[in-house]
């Protein structure tokens, strides 16, 4: 009985993982950021880790950096949210940065699609500033 429950759990987990991979990639297409004007989209800079890792674990990377930065004063670390924004912010026709949490932009694109609330920008700037 226990073995069967375990198998069921495993199947469920696999299904969730597959589903999330599928939804992430289609969310990106929907968001349209791939054709954007950000540094990341134009391949001028590469991310701190590979894309597959970041898709699943970016929140952990950011959280780790935030604790180090706020409580220990460690700056310029991989996973600094301000660096995420520097690379992933798109610019409009006039070269003005578009907030990353605006509909269809890098952060909001996926988060809206999968229905995960995005709390970072209640406090953090959404475009690179000083």
């Amino acid at each position: 009985m226990k073995v069967r429950a375990f198998e069921h759990g495993l199947l469920l987990a696999l299904a969730v993982v597959l589903l999330s991979i599928a939804s992430v990639s289609s969310a990106e297409e929907k968001a349209g950021w791939k054709n954007g004007t950000s540094l990341a989209a134009t391949q001028e800079k590469s991310c701190v880790r590979d894309t597959a890792f970041m898709r699943r674990n970016h929140m952990e990377v950011i959280k780790h950096a935030r604790i180090d930065t706020v409580r220990k004063g460690v700056r310029g670390v991989d996973g600094s949210l301000s660096e995420c924004i520097v690379c992933h912010v798109n610019k409009d026709d006039k070269g003005v940065p578009i907030p990353v949490n605006q509909e269809g932009q890098f952060c909001a694109g996926c988060h809206q699609y999968v229905g995960v609330s995005l709390d970072c920008y209640q406090c953090h700037a959404t475009v690179p500033t000083h």
Binding site: V70, G73, I85, Q122, C123, T129, H130
Partner: protein, 257 residues
């Protein structure tokens, strides 16, 4: 009990001897101390440095608020907007202020003293004592800060602070700076321009503004370094801690009050 005391004594003596040997071995006649050197970006702060400030109220000019303006500009406080429909006087009470201009009048002599009042960066901060979520904390280098990720906005620290140094953000914040994140429902206060210090700079915005005005009432630096400007200034002349009776060992000291 005696045994424990014995052990403690022995341990203490051992440590003292060890320290003496190390000191002699390093360089006879030369004291070891670290000058303020820019901390590498990717390293954690340590208690080798304790940031502190000396404010000379005698040099603080009546009617001048350049330090407050500079602080507001540096930390994005001037970007805050009055919530729609809120009364002007309520907004004036609630708008976050990291530095307050305080005017003290001696009723007997009529002498008026002006001084900027901000977070005193206590060694024993009451705000940290009372915080139920450890959001209010003291960094290794002596800066008392709020970790907004953990702050639940209970405002217990505001009640505990004897200096009225903390503010609460009551409404959604539209315009934010990268260097000074801010959002509804969190408490905040002066952090000695921590983004500058982490970046390797050694001055605060208020200090720079005061010097620019030619008043030079604010001296800032490392209290642990006996050769720093602030340590030298503190050594030369007497200074006071506001509410010294509370024994908080403040990082901000005043002269001429």
């Amino acid at each position: 009990m005696n045994n424990t005391q014995d052990t403690n004594q022995k341990r203490r003596q051992f440590l003292l001897k060890g320290a003496a040997v190390t000191a002699a071995a390093v360089a006879p006649g030369v004291m070891l101390h670290t000058a303020v050197v820019a901390k590498p970006l990717g390293e954690a702060v340590t208690d080798a440095v304790r940031w502190g400030m000396l404010i000379d109220a005698a040099k603080c000019a009546d009617g001048c608020d350049s330090c407050v303006q500079a602080c507001n500009d540096e930390n994005g406080l001037d970007l805050l907007q009055k919530p729609q429909g809120q009364a002007e006087d309520l907004w004036d009470q609630q708008i976050p202020k990291w530095i307050r201009n305080v005017k003290v009048k001696d009723n007997l002599s009529g002498h008026v003293t002006n001084l900027p009042m901000m977070c005193q960066h206590c060694e024993e901060p009451p705000c940290v004592d009372v915080c139920p979520t450890t959001a209010s904390f003291r960094r290794a280098d002596g800066i008392v800060m709020v970790d907004r990720h953990l702050c639940i906005g209970c405002r217990y620290c505001m009640m505990a602070c004897p200096y009225k140094a903390r503010s609460f953000v009551h409404d959604v914040v539209e315009h934010k700076l990268t260097r000074a994140p801010r959002g509804k429902g969190c408490v905040e206060s002066c952090n000695f321009c921590v983004h500058r210090l982490d970046d390797g700079q050694t001055t605060t915005a208020c200090q720079d503004a005061c010097a620019k005005e030619g008043h030079d009432a604010i001296t800032f630096g490392d209290l642990n370094d006996p050769h720093s400007e602030v340590s030298q200034a503190l050594k030369e002349q007497s200074s006071t801690q506001i509410r010294a009776d509370l024994k908080l060992n403040t990082g901000v000291r005043y002269r001429g009050v």
